[in-house]
């Protein structure tokens, strides 16, 4: 029983050298042939954050009424960071196995590591955005709340949620390309079901419990608590998210493992 709970970690640890080598490769090759290189990784989120701040300041004072502009922009940006990690992974997962088909069919490549490498990569880019946000907070409100140091406790279970999602979509996407088209179509819509540009409390009371079922939204709310409002999320909410994410993680892994041997033959 305990074996079943930690098996995905054991496999990842076993292949840690490979995961490390592939993550290194992906991070290095992304900006390889560009002159400014990694500056682009910082520039994109910075430009986005500044644009949000400007828009909310100039164009839509009504939305932001009652909330300090900088906090509003930062809260939206917090939402975007996590949502973008999810969106990138959800949109890309169904085609991941197709992209690695040569590795999988012609070499002894442990395909379950693809979920680890793509998730770590997405989290690293999210991390760059996150540190950009912290830097901008320093400039705009001259302080960062100390609760920020607990951010890893949010990110780790969030990673488990992402890994489970990637495994599931990866396996499903191997069987039919429709999954890829489906995800590309619905991911932008999911943004409206996720409190990215709004907060859960702004919704009608009847709708709130439903939106809370969206785990990504819960993580966004918890990240905002730590980073912007300098308070701890409700422990029950946190515990619920951890348990649910771990369940998704185990389910995703089990699903992938179940179909792994078949996938080689259908790709």
């Amino acid at each position: 029983m305990s074996n079943f709970l930690i098996e995905p970690f054991e496999r990842a640890w076993h292949h840690r050298e490979l995961i490390r080598a592939v993550v290194r490769r992906e991070l290095k090759s992304r900006f390889r042939d560009s002159f400014l290189g990694w500056i682009w990784a910082i520039f994109a989120p910075l430009a986005m954050l500044l644009a949000y701040t400007a828009i909310f300041t100039i164009a839509t004072p009504a939305i932001a009424s009652g909330v300090p502009i900088y906090d509003y922009a930062a809260a939206s940006f917090c939402g975007l960071i996590l949502f973008n990690v999810f969106a990138e992974l959800a949109a890309r997962s169904p085609t991941l196995l197709h992209e690695h088909v040569h590795f999988i069919k012609k070499s002894i490549f442990p395909s379950e590591t693809i979920a680890w490498t793509s998730t770590i990569r997405a989290i690293v880019y999210g991390g760059i955005s996150f540190f950009t946000l912290l830097a901008v907070r320093l400039v705009t409100v001259h302080s960062i709340s100390w609760t920020v140091i607990f951010t890893p406790l949010i990110i780790l279970p969030f990673m488990l949620l992402m890994l489970g999602t990637v495994w599931f979509l990866m396996a499903l996407g191997a069987f039919t390309r429709d999954v890829a088209h489906l995800m590309v179509s619905i991911v932008p819509l999911l943004m409206f079901a996720t409190p990215v540009f709004f907060q859960i409390e702004q919704l009608p009371a009847g709708l709130q419990p439903w939106i809370k079922l969206n785990l990504v939204g819960d993580y966004i709310a918890m990240l905002r608590d730590l980073v912007i409002y300098a308070r701890f999320p409700s422990p029950w909410m946190y515990l619920g998210c951890v348990v649910a994410s771990y369940a998704v993680f185990l389910f995703g892994y089990a699903f992938f493992k179940e179909y792994k041997s078949v996938i080689v033959d259908v790709l």
Binding site: E17, L18, R20, A21, V22, R25, K28, S29, R32, D33, H102, F103, I104, K105, K106, S107, I108, F109, A171, L172, F175, T176, D178, V179, Y259, S261, V262, V264, D265, V266
Partner: protein, 260 residues
């Protein structure tokens, strides 16, 4: 527990799933527990053999006999539908050389990833990079993106990586037809050298080469093992069978032509 056998194959069989409709694959994945959406197509049936440690074994058979599928099962790339395969030792498969490389990365970086796939630690690979570059004879290109490589250079690097992972079992799939004469000779020398300390499984249509290299050959015909034994006995019989098949086929074509 360590056995005398490097590879032990017991009643291994492989059936591919043939789907009539593209979407049946998805239906099978979702509802496979309730209903079967495919037809089975057996490419290997009841394959049983043992390979002792240090043995050099050739696999012969016509195109489509199931040789590559057998190698894929032995490497663990695909699972056998029936039976079981036991491997004792680290495998280095020289299958379809270089297909896993990333053109944007340098040879050095690809070598590190290739080594990691084959189970080496980063330190171990880095210690061997010079030897790999040396063996591959690609000189300064080692630090250039692989998209600039000629196909011969890619193949040479791939072989060099496999040659330097300290494998116990080398699996060679028609790899020797790549590269120029000199490099092919180098690979053959390496394989001959390796056969003194490790186990080798080689698939090739170069029957004379197999005859000089191998201790035994396994003849696979239409997915089943037809004969196993001394290359000097089996290869002539295999050649005769192939010749007879070709003649039958030619006669059938001529016969069919006359009938029409």
């Amino acid at each position: 527990m360590s056995s005398d056998f490097a590879i032990s194959c017991r009643n291994a069989g492989k059936a591919f799933q043939l789907y009539l409709h593209r979407n049946d694959q998805l239906m099978q994945a979702l509802f496979g527990w309730a209903k079967t959406y495919y037809k089975k197509h057996w490419v290997l049936r009841d394959v049983t053999f043992d390979i002792k440690k240090g043995e050099c074994v050739g696999i012969i058979g016509r195109n489509g006999a199931g040789k590559t599928t057998l190698l894929q099962i032995l490497c663990g790339i695909t699972k056998p539908t029936t039976g079981s395969v036991e491997i004792d030792g680290r495998i280095a498969p020289i299958l379809a050389l270089g297909s896993g490389f990333d053109g944007a990365l340098t040879g050095r970086e690809n070598a590190i990833i290739g080594g990691a796939i084959l189970g080496l630690k980063r330190k171990e690979i880095i210690a061997k990079l010079d030897q790999i570059a040396d063996f591959a004879e690609i000189g300064m290109f080692f630090d250039q993106p692989m998209k600039l490589y000629s196909s011969g250079m890619v193949a040479r690097l791939a072989f060099a990586i496999c040659a330097h992972v300290d494998a116990d079992i080398l699996i060679v799939d028609e790899a020797l037809s790549v590269g120029d004469e000199a490099f092919a000779q180098k690979c053959e020398n390496f394989i001959a050298e390796f056969s003194k300390r490790g186990t080798i499984l080689v698939v090739s249509h170069g029957l004379d080469y197999l005859r000089t290299l191998c201790d035994r050959v396994i003849w696979i015909d239409a997915g089943v093992v037809r004969e196993v034994g001394d290359p000097d006995e089996i290869i002539p019989r295999y050649k005769a069978a192939v010749r007879k098949d070709d003649e039958d086929e030619a006669n059938a074509v001529i016969g069919g032509g006359e009938a029409a």
